[in-house]
Symmetry: C2
Subunit: 111 residues, 2 copies
């Protein structure tokens, strides 16, 4: 079955991780689970609206898990699903490529 939706198969990949901030989010999550506020701090130029939008889409597409802890104050943690883990190699390479282009050590944490 060739999908009629895409002309080039890689479009299926882009539909999932092509969002403006999705790869950045995933690169952060591949280093470990993160709370909403942690992601915000790591990406100060991204508004809450944008961030939650991208997170919701990633969740819908089965790439990340959203875990709500029933506490006060609220706590929500995001993590990679298995499907998300299957992107790890791609994410690592993309991070390394960016580092190299910036002339940095191959460290993608951004911290």
């Amino acid at each position: 079955m060739k999908s009629t939706k895409y002309n080039v198969p890689v479009e299926a990949t882009l539909e999932v991780i092509g969002g403006k901030w999705k790869v950045v989010i995933l690169c952060l999550l591949k280093e470990g689970d993160k709370r909403f506020s942690e992601l915000q701090r790591a990406m100060p130029v991204v508004t809450k609206k944008m961030l939650s939008q991208q997170l919701r889409e990633l969740e819908k597409d089965g790439i990340i898990n959203r875990t709500v802890y029933d506490e006060i104050p609220p706590k929500v943690e995001y993590s990679l699903t298995e499907e998300g883990e299957s992107l790890r190699e791609i994410l690592n390479l993309m991070c390394a490529w960016g580092d190299k282009r910036l002339g940095n050590d191959p460290d993608c944490s951004g911290t």
Copy 2:
């Protein structure tokens, strides 16, 4: 030197290949040099304007070469530069990931 432009280094990668159709173009070019019209045929939903815009940006960023043959009718060929070649592994993985998600054989040619 930590770049002040990005908070997470992978953003440098996205600045180069994050454009809406850039990865698709690169996935086509990694299979061999292509003329403008060949790219158009391979991506029918993309307008000429969009296509040439993305091509120009990729050229400006040193990812692809634009070779003009002085013929009538005009002929222009696009190919990966060495910098573009350094993306090959990422492109291959992204293609394979999309194929897998579509349930296809790992063939990214789209033909």
